[in-house]
Symmetry: C2
Subunit: 354 residues, 2 copies
Amino acid sequence: MGRTAPRRLVILTEGQWSPHSAKTAHGMIRYGPDTVVAVLDSSQAGRNVAEDLPGHDIPFVATLAEALPLGPDALLIGIAPTGGRLPDQWRATILAALGAGLDVLSGLHTFLGDDPELAPMATASGATIVDFRRPPERLETAVGRLHGPGKRVILAVGTDCAVGKKTVCLELRRAARRAGQSAAFVATGQTGIMIEGWGVAVDRVISDFLQGTVEWMVEEGERRGDWVLVEGQGSLDHPAYSSVTLGLIHGATPHGMVMVHMPGLTDHDFDHVPGRRFPIPPLVPFIRIHEEIAALVAPAKVVAVALNTRLYPDDADARRLCGQIEAETGLPTDDVVRFGPDRLWAAITTALGG
Amino acid sequence: MGRTAPRRLVILTEGQWSPHSAKTAHGMIRYGPDTVVAVLDSSQAGRNVAEDLPGHDIPFVATLAEALPLGPDALLIGIAPTGGRLPDQWRATILAALGAGLDVLSGLHTFLGDDPELAPMATASGATIVDFRRPPERLETAVGRLHGPGKRVILAVGTDCAVGKKTVCLELRRAARRAGQSAAFVATGQTGIMIEGWGVAVDRVISDFLQGTVEWMVEEGERRGDWVLVEGQGSLDHPAYSSVTLGLIHGATPHGMVMVHMPGLTDHDFDHVPGRRFPIPPLVPFIRIHEEIAALVAPAKVVAVALNTRLYPDDADARRLCGQIEAETGLPTDDVVRFGPDRLWAAITTALGG
């Protein structure tokens, strides 16, 4: 899945502008290669993205018509809802965008390019629909591939979905490049693919081929760099997605894992059955069970903890948390977004003999 | 996926008649509802299935032409190869069977009903192609469903693929019915579906929906019986399939697990990388890690060990092994095929408060 020139995007998040619901939008704004001309979300109209993401001067607009004078060439669907379906109320907006000749970029499970209403509209207007979650034709089970000589594979794991596993990988890759190291990012979800220009949304792959696909992506990552940072998905204790997480651990057979954790979060965002809670697991035993289960196929240690201290507005609190969790786990701990990735990256490369 | 009247089957295993390679054939002969008129395998021609599976008087034939006078109404593909593809050399046989008006029943990943050569032949001759691995249209993630009152869910897990998880479930269900209990079998692989007439080949489901599909199948199992026996897949330490295994553990959230193990087996049948071995794990810590990882979503103990003592021809050796592993694990242990399922079933129901 290659891309050509940078685009000019309108990102659609209608009514769902939050780092959790609109993680595709936030990821593309912060790490994507494209210019974002507007975010289409009537619930935020009149505000500017920079109020939430400093440095990103992008207006919110209430309608597509307001965005068109800004010269976009594509509409990007900025959410990744559970189950990956298209909210019905967005259909009219997408039809209008296609009608105006904008390409539509989507990471939904429902492929917009196969939609009986949207596809003909794209054909009629000459626009292209890109479904970033469309899986590869390749259907191969894992073979137990060994890593190439001199390569080091690092997998981000986490205590929940949407705590920042992708962001941690991208920040660590930035630190690696700054240190003059050759580093690749292996995108395993739709937002990562949009940012990086290649990858596979592994949750869309047929279960029998999940580990084989991850193994193959890591092989490609090794062609692109010596340090290979693999984006994680879900969490090992998640009622719906833990098997995807394990497919990444056993498919990537990493040399080391980085545990991504959001202090202050108490429960998984998973309340389908009234009264049933799924608490975020305690960190120390959760790290141990990751190492035990990895070792069932290939040994791998958790070599660092990457905290997402978003719930603690005060820097001093965030620093205190890093120290506290470093003491609890005995592992180097930092918030790579808030305090920069260089210190944690140095600790990781040391731990992995880089 | 329903079925109507019992069929008269020719089972194709050409050159691969062994309990490991032809596990679909062996499963259907031993537990299926249909009459098997012949097994088509030129490497076994002149022999009788009863030589390997006592009580099943079925001739091996070398060609389809020899089988036709026996009055079959369908050809069943009797293998489930890695990756699930159709061996090229079988295509001519399948075309001939369709040409002769036989239905074709397949559990391959490659859907024969979509094949550009086979599908028109079926249409022309009025035959039907049934792909048992075709996944349901339903695409739902797990919701964390609670089991119904009075229901008990038991999942078969194992130390390898093809050690007899399905067989153990079917034997235990037989014991339950003999004891006058209401019991259902939840088929999660193509052979189980062929035998039982319903189910989903979970390894074919999109990864994001694996746990949601298992959860939904268990709900259906609970409608069909009070004791729900869920067929396991793969093993938690398998380099290619462990994520499917975990999807079953966290999707079924069983009350108890039965560990299926084949003493004497030293390595997984997995030798794609020269010199790289994947040993069968030691039983006691492997049981413990199953309980730990299950508890990440819902607590479940391993309540029994079901041995497959096929590699020990002498009954006395097999009985000694059961005693030895019972002492090692502290769990009731038996070979339910060799010595009958009643004793182990009684121990399981006692452990689960039945």
